[in-house]
Amino acid sequence: MNRNRWAVRAVVLVYLGILIGLPVVFLVIKALGHGLPAFWGEVTRPDALLALKLSVEVAAIAVPVNTIVGVGAAILIARHNFFGKRLLDTIFDVPIAISPIIIGVALVLAYSRIGWFGAPLARWGIMVLFSPLGVVMATMAVSLPYVLRSVVPVLLEVGIDEEQAARTLGAGPLRIFWHVTLPAIRWAVMYGVTLTLARTLGEFGAVLVVSGNISGVTQTLPIYIYDSWDQRFDVLGTYSGALVLAMMSMAVLAVLALLRRRERRLRVDLA
């Protein structure tokens, strides 16, 4: 019994080590192998810094927008009945189900100069493709579902009793949302936000297609890493960039783990 448990643990650890642990260790070794100054020099290159800046800016737009949209849609789906609800629910799963590159290609089709939306926008002088705007849109599209998917189950679990109680006590929709609904789902929202942030920072496929990979303009950090590797054959630049991105993601993961613990501790059965 006990021996079996150890065996299972060992298998899992070895598996994780082969898939994730060792590659990350090698990444760290390679990135820092030429010493910290060399690493620092790579990270602070102008095009690297611009890529980092764009990544942060894109996240600063995509995460809040998707949070608001996600919470709104979650309330719509969990609390209201309307025609097309199932369809809406399913559409939110599309970015999880299909490859990001397909989303990228679809965006190109819709927003290229001869596309449905692209043509009128171009007449107004708005360029979606090969511009930061396109990068933001592609990122928002792929990171859309996460807030909704974390919030809906909690809304369903919490139920409508508290909201109805607030209503009988005289509260209007806005007060009910801020004082009753939101406090009940806040950890789920935070959880969704961190997932969205992680997805946003790491997004590659959809962004690559719509961005046109213009250094210093539409290059996010993942695209910069790909560019160093595939176009410039800059091994040290690749590893350094990758290590920075990995550390940012790890930080997000750490926050996520903390939130999970918090959420479990705060989930109290009131039934």
Partner: protein
């Protein structure tokens, strides 16, 4: 404030939850809506509160037609079956919520909350969160929260359903006292006939979306309009082809009985004893006796006896 319900109907999909229900609820009364699950009693309460809109009919509170008034403007206090405490607010904040919505001054809210917590005996829990309270305490907090807005009517959905037997009995007693103290028109929904009989001064018995009978509890107990009410409101058995209360029957000698029979079992339950008799007409009935009666009569299983209705309780 009085409540008057006129021809209320409500259906969910193809289920008719409430069908053409009319009732008058007297000002200051404590009315229990009693019925088995699925009888439409909870729906009726939601219709009064406005949390559900009727398909047809009107709800009149204190002479005002509120059928199309949003629940937030109806001035009703509603206590939910599972109390629906705001889980992220402490007891004081919960109780003061309705007053804060009404934009009362912090000082006034504070004073009123203290007063209400004293009324429901929760002063020492003011800073606790709902998760830290027992079921009975949550119930009392919910009551204080509903009473804070000085509602025109108080509506309680299965108020004691989720509590254990001891706390339930205590709270029932307490609720009755509270009602005598503050006299707000109260409607409570329950499936427990004992609870309804003990607490309420008016009963409305519902079945499959209809009101079967209403009136004061004793009258309903003694003069049930249908077999359903009879069986639902207290112990019942069948004697001589009619529904009867087991304590309205008595055991006598073979010659004095309306029907003779043979005792098949005697169960003693402390003060009361249940004696089951197989009757000569092929049916079986049971008679409720006091411990003293049982001892005085020297009854035992297999004895032949006569069964008849007690004369003094014939209405």
């Amino acid at each position: 404030m009085s409540i008057s319900l006129k021809h209320l109907s409500k259906h969910y999909g193809s289920t008719q939850a409430v069908e053409d229900v009319s009732a008058e609820i007297v000002h200051g009364s404590l009315t229990a809506v009693l019925g088995p699950s699925g009888s439409g009693k909870s729906t009726l309460l939601k219709l009064i509160s406005g949390l559900e809109r009727p398909d047809a009919g009107t709800v009149v509170i204190d002479g005002e037609d509120v059928t199309n008034v949003d629940p937030r403007h109806r001035d009703i206090g509603f206590c939910f079956q599972h109390y629906a405490p705001f889980r992220h607010m402490n007891v004081s904040k919960n109780v003061g919520f309705g007053l804060k919505v009404r934009k009362r001054s912090p000082k006034e809210i504070d004073a009123r909350v203290k007063e209400l917590l004293a009324l429901v005996k929760l002063e020492h829990k003011a800073k606790d969160y709902p998760a830290q309270l027992s079921g009975g305490e949550r119930q009392r907090m919910a009551l204080a929260r509903a009473l804070a807005i000085e509602p025109r009517v108080l509506l309680l959905d299965e108020p004691f359903g989720a509590l254990d037997a001891v706390v339930r009995a205590e709270l029932r007693h307490w609720l009755k006292e509270l009602h005598q103290q503050i006299h707000v028109t109260t409607v409570l929904v329950t499936h427990d006939q004992q609870e309804a009989m003990e607490v309420a001064d008016q009963l409305i018995v519902m079945r499959t979306g209809h009101i079967v009978q209403s009136g004061n509890p004793l009258a309903l107990y003694e003069r049930p309009a249908t077999d359903f009410v009879h069986e639902f409101l207290g112990p019942s058995t069948v004697f001589a082809g009619e529904v009867a209360r087991p304590h309205d029957l008595e055991l006598v000698s073979v010659y004095q009985g309306t029907i003779t029979g043979r005792i098949t079992s005697i169960v003693s339950l402390g003060f009361e004893a249940q004696v089951t008799v197989e009757l000569s007409d092929g049916t079986s009935t049971w008679v409720q006796l006091s411990r003293n009666e049982l001892a005085a009569m020297g009854l035992r299983v297999a004895l032949l006896v006569g069964v008849r209705r007690r004369d003094d309780v014939n209405f």
